[in-house]
Symmetry: C2
Subunit: 200 residues, 2 copies
DNA sequence: ATGATAATAGACCGGTCGGTCAAGTCAAGG
DNA sequence: CCTTGACTTGACCGACCGGTCTATTATCAT
């Protein structure tokens, strides 16, 4: 195993977990180094700054996310409605598992970072927007398909997809605040009731 | 004018603005003191710790909020649907005004703080939950009234009200990430399409 | 006027922050 | 064997963190 990649990915994984469970500002580089069993010098060999590390963490998580349960949820073999249900379920089980282990619901890393730093760092904000955009597109494609198959009436699929993403982030926010993953289960299914009409 | 209250409220107002526009961790006490033209000794005369200040800020904002546009939006003389529209409009204009002045959308202070600290401070988390609960109750009362007047079909008003609050927080989150208040205007009206049926 | 108390001033504390740097280890290529 | 360059080590930096402390000033009831 290449020790370069190993060290780098160890830093990345540790930082990701810590940023997700706490916050960007609350986690120090020394703490990340301790957690990853790495010295400061090695850290700065791989990452020019804490900020660059955070951006790498976003990329890393976005990659895992896109190839993980988002890919599963938006499987084209599933019916559109099933995809939405799958997405909600996946969010629930993920948060539930995290809470069972850590005792706390970490929420959505992207949402957390967006609220913490988007007023101070336009580059990271743009990065997070790209992630949100990708997720929105998954919703939109699903809706387009459903409309085309006459499973749903005509609507503004772009706006409705964005609304669904917002709702998903909103229920995760509220669930995190209550530290109760069940909130996702109870509120989640209503994502299917959201609809924004085409403007005419 | 009583100098006690004046100093205290100056600290409070400065901290509130800074916490809202940036984050809890990113704003230091020295910076707050400078902004409020107060010395550190005075600060610690009025607030035992930064954490206590933050809790006072939450109370302060919650008070202004409840007696301000939330009270206006949920005016019982308005039709239920009008109240929801008013709430969305108010959120939009507030964020728009803030962006026009500061260049950045601060988002919702409660949502921001909830995501930043609810994994680390259960007392503050409870305080934020209380604020969210009050907002949810405003929605629920509105829905109950609408259902009673046969303006809306029977539904789980408690769950739907929570869903509406989540959606509101979600669109503010997304709008903040895009630094674009218009997102609130475009997605907001769909809050009226949310519905969670009574379980039977 | 005096004594008690509230408020202000600002130096100071240990600790931690993100980040730098010189010195060294080590494996691959010539 | 020697050089090169990626990687690691850990001491070190100034700045700033939240918070403490002593001294001083302003306010007020007696």
């Amino acid at each position: 195993m290449n020790p370069d990649i190993d060290t780098r990915s160890r830093i990345l994984a540790t930082a990701r977990e810590m940023f997700h469970g706490r916050s960007y500002a609350d986690v120090g580089i020394q703490e990340i180094c301790d957690g990853a069993r790495v010295q400061k010098g090695s850290f700065y060999h791989f990452f020019p700054s804490k900020r660059d590390l955070a951006m790498a963490v976003i990329d890393d998580m976005a990659g895992d996310w896109a190839h993980g349960f988002v890919a599963e949820a938006f499987d084209r073999n599933l019916l559109p409605v099933e995809r939405l249900d799958y997405m909600i379920d996946a969010a629930y089980y993920w948060q539930k598992a995290a809470k069972d282990i850590e005792g706390r619901m970490p929420g959505c890393l992207f949402g957390n970072l967006a609220l913490e730093i988007s007023t101070r760092d336009d580059v990271m904000r743009a990065k997070l927007n790209a992630v949100f955009d990708k997720a929105k597109d998954k919703f939109r494609i699903t809706l387009d398909e459903a409309v085309l198959a006459r499973a749903l009436p005509a609507m503004d699929t772009e706006a409705t997809a964005t609304a669904m993403l917002a709702y998903l982030e909103g229920i995760i926010l509220l669930a995190k605040s209550r530290n109760d993953p069940d909130v996702i289960l109870r509120l989640g299914p209503a994502i299917k009731t959201l609809r924004i009409e085409l403007k005419h």
